[in-house]
Every structure is written in C-alpha cells, then in structure tokens.
C-alpha cells in the first residue's frame, strides 16, 4: 500500500478512537452503549500495536532477524523448537489468559465502568504489553532463562531471593483467591456443584483415552470432552430439580472448600496424564470458545451499560465490594488485562524457547497481551450491563447483606442504589439458583451478565439458566486447571528448596518428597481459603487486594529487571519505556500496601481492624465498628483478629520485598551509569547467524558466520 493510503487509514482509526473515547467520557445521564467502549478499545490497540510496539521493537530492543533464536540454535525437538508464530501466539495466549481478566474487572466495576476501562486500555498499552514483550525478548536473548534467574544474574543475589519469595507467596495467595471464587460460585448450588464434579470423571476418561486408547488424538478427545461437559451442565439442571438428588448435591461453603483442598492435593500427587493434561485441553478449548462466544454476543446485542460512569465509591473509598479509593485500588484489583506480573513467568521460560525470529516478539508478546486486555474489556461490559442494584446485591460482603432478598434490598439502598426484592428473586430464578445474594468473587456476576447477553442471542429466558451454568462451568474449569497446575508448580518449587537440605527431595518422582511438598503447598493455600470462606469481613474483600498487590509486586520485579538490562545495553535514553511503568507500578503497589498496613480507617487497614477487634475482645462484646464491618459474634471477632494479623504481616513482607528489589537494582543502575555501559557485561547468548526465514524454512545459501548487521 502506498504511504498516503496508509496514512489515511491510520488517521481514520485515530478519529474513530477519539470519537468513541469522547462518547464514553462526555455522555451525561443517559446510559451509554457498549459499542463505544468496544471500538474505543480496538482503535487504541491498533494504534498502539502499529506505532508504540513497533517503536519498542525497532528502536529500543533493536530485534535482529539475522540473529538465530535459541529455538533455532538449540533445537532439540522438545522444549527448544522453532514454532510457527501463529501457533505460538495461540499457546502463549492460552497460558496468559485465565480467570484473572474476568474477575478483576467485575470487582472494579463497583467504581463505575470508566475508571476500570481507562486502566485496562491505557495500562495494557503502556505497561502490561510492554512488560510481556520486553521480558520475552530479554529471556529469548538469554536462551529462555526464567525471571528469577535473570533477576539473580542482572541485579544480584538479594534481588534474586526477593523475586523467589515474591513468586512463592503470590502462588499461595493466588491459588487461595481463585479457589475462593469457585467456592462462592458452588456453595448452595446443586446445579453448579454437580456439573463441576462431573469434570473429574470426564477428565479421567479423556486421560485414559489420550494415553492408551487413541494416543495423541487431541482434537477428537477434546470434542468428546466438550460434548460431555455440555451434558453435565444439562444434567445439573435435572439434578437440581429432582427431590432426592438436589439436596444431596447442595453443600455449604466449608464443605466445598475442603473438597477443593482434597482435590488439589490428590491432583498434585497423581501423574499428569490422569487429570492435569486432559483438563488443560478441555479448559483451553472452553476458554477460547467462550471468549469468542462472548465477543459475538456483545457484537450482536450491543447492550447498554447500566452502571454509572463513575460511582461515588471511586472517590470516597467506601465501596462494599472492596475498600479503598480509585487510586490505588483500581490498579491493584484489575491486574490481568492491564498489567499482570504473572505473565512475566510465562514470557520467560517456556515461550522464548519456541520463537522463530526475533521480530516476532511484537506479535506474540505485545499482541497476545492486547488480546487478553480485550477479554478484560468484555468482562467489564458484561458486569456493567447488569442492573447496578443486582450487581451490589451479589458482590457486597455477605454478612452486610443478610440472608433474604428483603434484607439485601435494604442493604443495597444503604449503598445508594435501588433494587427491589422481587428483582433479586426473579434474577436468581432465571439463572436456576435459589439465591444470588452475596455471591462474591466476580464469577457469578460475570455469569449472570453473560447469561443475559447470550440469551439475548439464543434461547431467551428459557436458556438463561443453561447459559449461567455454562459460564460458571467455564470459569470454574479453568480456575481448577490453574489450581491444579499452580499446586504442582508450587510443589516443584518447594521440592527444589528442600532439596538444598535433603538432596532426595530434588527427585520429582520420589514419593515421600512428592507427598510432603504437595502437602505443604496445599496447606498454604488451603489455610487462606478456609480463612477466606469464614472471614466475617468477607474473604474476597480482604484477600483480593493482597492478591493484587502480590501480582503487581511480581510486575515490579519484571519491569526492574527490564530497566536494568536496558541500562546495561547502553539504552539509557530509552529506559523510560520500562522505567515509567515501573514507577507507576511501584507507586500503586506501595500506596496500596501503605494503606493496608497503616490506614486508621478500620474498613481499609488490616491493623486498624485488628485494633478494633482487640478492643471488642477486651470489652467482651462486639463493638459498633466491628458489627458495621460484618462481625456478629465474639467468635467472629476472634477470627478477625487472626486473619488481620496474618494479612497485615503478609502486606509488610510484600512491601519490603518490592523496596528491596528496586533499591538493589538502583544500586546496579547507578554503578552502570558511572562506569558507562559495557555490552560485554550482559549475559546474552553470543550472536549466531540465522539460517531460517521468517516462516521457519531453511535458507539455501549460508552466509559466513559472524556477519552481524
């Protein structure tokens, strides 16, 4: 295409984007159609990918397609192997997109749709996708080293240890929070519990099929699996209505939590082909399919957003879903979809070993993250198209809402929104549940939103219950896959750590080591899960900010490593590309940690809560502050006492870890700036001429080695 034509197209995209953003920001009073949000996002992504990502690729990182990637140099047909970029994009996207981009935006919707939307779109362009792409590049230049290894080599042992602590603790909190989301969706729901339980025999069947009956027939077995899943959802509907089975499949939150913990332990001990591998296929297909379905649903129905642009909770910090004001808590709550430290673990390690050509990091690193961000945008649309009253009745701390539609309606009025009890009962009935009150965690809210969107396309209210449980199934399915995989990763980390003391632990197939390490990691997240289920102040309310802080802490480690490497490469004048997101991320994380530790406001600060609990215990009765927060008995207060101590100490550990990493890196930066950057200090693998073209085919004539560009 000629230059003028291309210019005209990009000016057009920019104008469309600007108009859509204008509609979102300037509309007054009347509801805004989701289409504006969709197109604002797509136009922004296109411009960012074409211009900013290209600038980073060409000027900052200077990718070099004549340089052989580790996949080419170390090709062993196993973990190192040049992979087609479209296929690798799919693998990378499947690994980074999980429940995170769906849950966070739903919780942040309590502040209205605009704060979350702006952060998702601006955050991904300037921070999240940059982190993923640069980490991918740096790891690729180092033969696929992990983030922890890079932190140790480029910063130093102290930064390395802090990074390791960050990874292990984020894993524990993450697994607990995700499991809590599932528990909240399945407690008192025979339909959901039955259909999720059925995924275990389905996975077993698929595992045996794939390993022994028809090895490697992945597509075939996935189709069978998805078919059986649909049957399980339909079957759940029958079960929930039949008299002996419905009550038999109805479990309280604690029972579901214990079942999940037992499942996590067993799945971690068993060989992968039994549960994990088949679940992986199943959840990947369900994930991609459902995301596509959601996109089609939104595009066809173009719902209007019922939630205000920004609620008062954005400013007064008194939101019932989680406490704290817009800054910093929107940026903590929405991690995946905008900036997620977890991605740096995937962008280092697995993916960089499979890249064919250096320039493909833009498509795979930046591109896949834009796609994940788009998923987050769809989640915020699904949540904000709900009636705000219904939204708050589902997401506020359950002990404030009470047990009946009447009490929940009153509580919602107290938050400044209206919903009549009939609407709540009717909504629950439409989706085939007894009650939707206090179903915190984001997943059920998203499922109601998705059910309304899907049933707008196919089936009407008749199929709403099916679509609701379809959405719950797909969220629970990939949360459980993450729990499964995460427990195993944690188990390997612990076995590696214990291996320093007792070498036998290093052997992954040594059964006692397997049992002990699995037990330890499961006990870790199981503790937080049980504490969250029984937390009088609301488990999601208390734990989600911790999870967000831990995730953004990991992002700070990745961005610090990136900045350090850029400075060492002699790219000081471009170091802002990772340094500015780092500055922002550090400001957000440290402010959030500061408020969680030092705030005197008992709805926000862990230690302020603890002080009130202590006062209550000394007085021998539940005081006003405690009961306003949701504690009803002295037993509750004692629980608050324990939980806030643990949560508060964890907040301190996270804050200290982030300060240590950045301070240690700053020492390295200053040293390099004083002595001047010497590229030979970089631990990059040496240059080798590539013999592949951009489609991975061998080039005929071979140029002399060392003719670098």
């Amino acid at each position: 295409m000629n230059r003028a034509g291309s210019l005209a197209i990009w000016v057009g995209v920019a104008v469309v984007g600007a108009i859509c953003w204008g509609m979102l920001a300037l509309s007054r009073g009347e509801t805004v159609n989701a289409a504006w949000l969709l197109f604002a996002a797509l136009a922004s992504y296109a411009i960012a990918y074409r211009f900013y990502a290209r600038f980073i690729q060409r000027k900052v990182l200077e990718t070099d397609d004549s340089r052989a990637t580790p996949a080419e140099r170390l090709n062993n047909g196993q973990d190192f192997e040049p992979m087609d970029r479209r296929v690798l994009f799919g693998h990378h996207f499947a690994a980074i997109a999980g429940a995170g981009p769906l849950v966070g935006p739903v919780l942040a919707a309590q502040m209205g749709y605009l704060p979350g939307t702006i952060w998702i779109i601006v955050g991904v362009i300037l921070a999240g996708a940059v982190q993923d792409m640069t980490t991918l590049f740096f790891s690729m230049r180092r033969n696929g080293k992990t983030l922890g290894q890079m932190a140790r080599e480029e910063i130093g042992p102290i930064g390395g240890v802090a990074a390791l602590i960050a990874v292990l603790s984020i894993m524990v909190i993450l697994l607990a929070v995700l499991a809590l989301v599932v528990v909240n969706a399945l407690a008192q729901s025979p339909w959901g519990t039955f259909s999720i339980a059925m995924t275990i025999p389905i996975a077993l069947l698929m595992g045996v099929y794939l390993r022994f009956l028809r090895p490697g027939r992945v597509l075939e077995v996935s189709l069978i699996g998805v078919g059986l899943l649909i049957l399980a959802i339909v079957g759940g509907g029958w079960i929930s209505e039949s008299s002996p089975y419905g009550p038999a499949w109805t479990f309280g939150a604690n029972a579901v939590a214990i079942a999940l913990i037992a499942y996590g332990f067993i799945a971690s001990v068993l060989p992968v082909w039994v549960l994990l591998a088949p679940r992986d296929y199943l959840s990947t297909f369900m994930k991609v399919g459902t995301i596509l379905l959601l996109a089609i649903g939104i595009a066809l129905t173009l719902p209007a957003m019922e939630m205000p642009k920004a609620t008062e909770f954005a400013f007064n910090g008194e939101g019932p879903v989680f406490a704290g004001a817009l800054f910093p808590f929107v940026f903590i709550t929405i991690a995946c979809g905008a900036l997620s430290g977890f991605h740096s673990l995937i962008a280092s390690g697995t993916t960089p070993k499979l890249i064919q050509k250096e320039s493909q990091i833009r498509f795979i690193g930046y591109g896949a993250m834009l796609m994940e961000s788009f998923v987050a945008v769809m989640a915020i649309i699904a949540a904000t198209t709900l009636d705000p009253g219904v939204y708050f009745a589902m997401n506020a701390n359950p002990s404030l809402l009470g047990d009946t539609a009447q009490s929940a309606s009153q509580a919602v009025n107290g938050f400044g929104f209206q919903v009549d009890p009939q609407t709540l009962t009717q909504t629950a009935q439409n989706v085939g549940e007894d009650s939707i009150i206090g179903r915190t965690g984001g997943a059920p809210t998203l499922a109601v939103g998705m059910a309304q969107i899907f049933s707008g396309v196919i089936g009407g209210t008749v199929l709403q219950a099916f679509w609701y449980h379809f959405a719950i199934m797909f969220e629970a399915l990939f949360i459980l896959t993450t729990v499964d995989a995460g427990t195993r990763v944690g188990r390997f980390m612990i076995q590696d750590l214990l291996g320093n003391v007792v070498p036998a632990f290093r052997n992954a197939s040594w059964l006692p080591g397997n049992l002990v390490a699995s037990g330890l990691i499961v006990a870790g997240w199981g503790y937080f899960l049980i504490a969250g289920v029984n937390d009088p102040l609301g488990g999601i309310n208390q734990l989600f900010p911790l999870f967000g802080i831990a995730n953004q802490l990991l992002a700070a480690v990745a961005l610090t490593v990136g900045t350090t490497i850029l400075i060492k490469m002699g790219k000081l004048r471009y170091a802002w590309v990772t340094a500015l997101p780092l500055l922002w991320d550090a400001a957000v994380t440290l402010t959030a940690s500061y408020q969680k530790i030092f705030s005197a406001n008992p709805s926000l600060g862990f230690f302020a809560q603890r002080t009130e609990a202590q006062k209550s215990l000394q007085a021998g009765e539940v005081n006003d502050v405690m009961s306003a927060l949701g504690a009803q008995s002295l037993e509750d207060v004692r629980q608050v006492m324990t939980n806030t101590t643990v949560d508060g100490v964890l907040s301190i550990i996270f804050a200290v870890a982030i300060i240590v990493v950045i301070a240690d890196a700053a020492r390295v930066w200053i040293g390099v700036m004083r002595s001047g950057a010497r590229p030979e200090d970089l631990s990059e693998a040496p240059y080798e001429e590539s013999r592949l073209d951009s489609d991975g085919r061998e080039v005929e004539t071979r140029e002399p080695v060392g003719a670098g560009s």
Partner: protein, 60 residues
C-alpha cells in the same frame, strides 16, 4: 484460494499437537533411516511426560 475450513482445521491440528507424531516420523525417517521409530503411543506418552516434567506457571 485455500478453503478456510481446511485452514482452520490444519491450524487446530498444529496447535493441539495432533500432527506432532507425523512430523516426528518424517524427520526420523529422513535422519535415522536405520533405526526403528517410536510408535504413536510411545511418542505421545514420552512427549506428555516431558512437557509436564516442568509444569509451566499459568496466569490466573
């Protein structure tokens, strides 16, 4: 023009690893014509065990 449905099917086969054995067989016969290759079952079992020997982290 290639049929889009066939293109999608090929992409799915590629991304799911369904055609990995065929590729292995082609390379094996080209490079070690003297040795007998693994059977389909052996190949996939070995591949699965390898892949999960170090289970990658997944994003939440």
């Amino acid at each position: 023009m290639p049929n889009p449905l066939i293109a999608i099917w090929d992409y799915l086969k590629e991304i799911s690893g369904e055609n990995a054995y065929d590729k292995y067989l082609a390379i094996h016969t080209a490079t070690h014509p003297d040795k007998s290759p693994m059977t389909r079952g052996e190949f996939y079992r070995a591949r699965q065990d390898e892949k999960y020997a170090n289970p990658g982290s997944r994003c939440p």
